[in-house]
Subunit: 356 residues, 2 copies
């Protein structure tokens, strides 16, 4: 079978080393003679996996002993509830920026628990840009943003300067380039884009921020409980954490600097073709173009379905835009090789010639 | 390597066919040319997996169109919160029976949301029996019980007759024998004992009960949302659901009748040896002995560590009791073969002879 170029928006392409390690562990995990999915999560073999995964996160992001790292269930979506439950105290207001579907959902959930101030929104122009012109009230309980908007293809390359605790949903661009993680009091990310398979969510918490959390939160939704129990208050998502650990090993080996260079090169290659080729056009503000999710459309919409079919015949997979926005979307997560982007660019050029 | 006999309490032994299928799917899922953990959960291949898993649950349990089946994240522990959030209306009281650690946790969480009436408890005797002498108030919002108590080794073989909606945590004995599932308004089970790997939770809801659920529940904790979205409101735990689907195929092929016979034979074999061999004794009331988790101790406690070592040398794995109760525990879930139980019985007899 020919290689499939996987542009899926998530769950998405993963490094082959992580897939190979998970296959091996399903056969015989850590010399136990048992499959990874048949052993106790409290055995020393799996406890070592969780510990290594947490340490790798801190190493890769240069975080010190003032941060906690846990792996939870429920996806980033459950974080939309857990954040206000833990950190939006009565009488306080939380500040959010609305940059797309996931940011909107985070806002909607926070409003169920307290007062929310939406500082800025790009909804007026179909979320095609990142709002930058706003200030964060000094008394906000926290500031929440979404660094990369998977559905619309915009990405934040700078974050505001503020003394308010900053929380960021980095589900779709974490570990894709260097950034100053120590600016944030909380970072979270569903694993299924740049970090692993679906089924686990990374949560990074600054200890001083966690100390301020509400005490009366249902146990499974209480960050303190999960931190105190080292992600093992109840049975964690064993397989997903194992694959994350191996993906993190691969990320560490490459390093965030090199990963950033690699990801920028892939995005530049594709955006250059979108800008050159008159059959295609990008959908978002140039300066806010995501390096993870490249959204574009056919200038003549009637070419959309034929072009998608043309791509599919060339083993270019996962290019259909999100059902809520249409068009095309090429997701260029960490594990995607530049050869796959080149194959897509080649297809765009060939398609152009065939229509000439 | 010699076969390891896996008596782990969960995550636990799974059918080899499910493990083999997952290894194959990690290499190439459903002919996509991609790994199971790299494909969109909204692709037709994975949507077929979720649909088949839900249908198998209904088929195996003989449930009709008046039931909904979903797969969620967060383990049974998150259900302890979701149940009162969805079903404990203001001014109503929920009725719980306390049969162990998990039942106690369910009660503790429910109390955060409303009034709870603990109808009966076996805490007075270290949860070594199932309370039976209680009545359920007719005006209770629901009745909640735990059918099998993994930590203490007791199991409910009969359920009360009542018009109050019945909710049961069947995490550790679901699909282990025939029972009348249509008596229940809700059944839930963490997958990682009889059904699959850690990372997903089965929830079965009677439609008429679901209709009565509170409307104002945070989205990710709202059963109606998950039902309306067919377990796909957000990205589900893809790998775990895939393994569940294959385990459910295996369960269906054997059938619950035969599974019950098989599980009773395994439990009878082990309990008979515990009762015969004066070096061992059981810890729970005979009539309430679980067929899933067999708890026992050495009559002379000083033999406990040496016997566990003796078992370990014979590839008998996972026999240490839960850290909260000590002693020994042999979990005999569906996929464990009677040969493994025989190997344990042989070890008990050999150990007895060596001490004589």
């Amino acid at each position: 079978m020919n290689k499939v170029h996987n542009f899926s928006a998530g769950p998405a392409i993963l490094p082959q080393s992580a897939i190979d390690a998970s296959i091996q562990a399903l056969q015989n995990f850590g010399g136990t003679g048992l499959s990874l999915i048949e052993v106790s999560h409290r055995g020393k073999e799996f406890e070592a996996v969780v510990a290594e995964a947490c340490n790798l996160v801190k190493e890769i992001l240069n975080l010190g002993a003032d941060y906690e790292v846990i792996f939870l269930q429920g996806g980033a979506s459950l974080q939309f509830d857990m954040i206000p439950m833990n950190f939006l105290a009565p009488g306080k207001t939380a500040a959010y920026v609305n940059t797309g579907v996931w940011a909107s959902r985070a806002i909607k959930e926070a409003k169920m628990f307290g007062d929310v101030n939406v500082l800025a929104s790009s909804e007026d122009n179909n979320f095609s840009y990142i709002p930058k012109d706003y200030s964060i009230p000094a008394d906000a309980a926290y500031y929440h943003c979404t660094s990369n908007n998977t559905i619309y293809g915009t990405e934040m390359f700078a974050f505001p300067e503020t003394n308010v605790p900053m929380i960021c949903d980095m589900s779709s661009d974490i570990f894709s380039r260097p950034f100053d993680a120590s600016k944030f009091d909380m970072i979270y990310a569903g694993a299924q884009k740049n970090m692993g398979p679906a089924g686990t969510t990374l949560v990074i918490l600054k200890k001083s921020f966690l100390e301020k959390a509400n005490a009366k939160v249902p146990t499974m939704l209480n960050y303190k409980i999960h931190v105190e129990n080292g992600s093992m208050y109840n049975t964690p998502s064993v397989f997903a954490i194992f694959v994350c650990m191996h993906t993190l090993r691969w990320i560490k080996e490459i390093g965030l600097e090199a990963m950033g260079v690699r990801n920028k090169a892939k995005a530049d290659l594709l955006y250059a073709e979108i800008d050159r080729n008159s059959m295609f056009k990008g959908t978002v503000a140039t300066e806010d173009r995501s390096r993870m999710n490249v959204n574009f459309v056919l200038t003549d919409k009637s070419h959309e379905e034929p072009f998608l079919k043309f791509c599919s015949e060339r083993n270019l997979s996962g290019l259909k835009g999100h059902r809520s926005v249409g068009g095309l979307r090429a997701s260029l997560y960490n594990a995607l090789e530049i050869e796959s982007v080149q194959a897509l660019v080649d297809a765009m050029q060939t398609y152009e010639k065939l229509q000439a």
